[in-house]
Symmetry: C2
Subunit: 82 residues, 2 copies
């Protein structure tokens, strides 16, 4: 038994992707799943604050923008606040 497999889906999660814009404030988290033996597609899954899970189009420019925005909204490290 491989413990590493627990909680890992062994197939693609997304049947279709949403390419229309979803405001980032509605997003609870965004999961990026690289392609691999389980699925030949890169998958980007947003969990909305409503609890709904939505597959996003990895190649949509707004998806990359939202991800960058989440990273950039990270506060400066304590060192840079001195």
């Amino acid at each position: 038994m491989s413990l590493a497999q627990i909680g890992r889906e062994l197939r693609c999660q997304c049947i279709k992707t949403e390419s229309r814009f979803i405001p980032p404030r509605l997003m609870q988290n965004v999961e990026l799943i690289p392609s691999g033996p389980h699925c030949s597609n890169v998958e980007v899954i947003a969990t909305l604050k409503s609890g709904q899970r939505v597959c996003l189009e990895p190649r949509a420019p707004w998806v990359e923008r939202i991800i960058r925005k989440i990273l950039e909204s990270s506060k400066p490290t304590p060192e840079s606040q001195l």
Copy 2:
């Protein structure tokens, strides 16, 4: 009861973050959690193929690079393959 809360942690997940490089081929998925009422920090959590979960430093340049690389490795849409 709010169904939307199921599976959602109501506090920060990361005590410390790993700022050293982790090769993307070891990553099973990467989760981005925007800051919010539950936690004032943006959190980036990689689940490794070993099953280990590692908090990454959202401001580390390599973290942004890896995320961009995952998105860019997405195959062209069927339309563009015609």
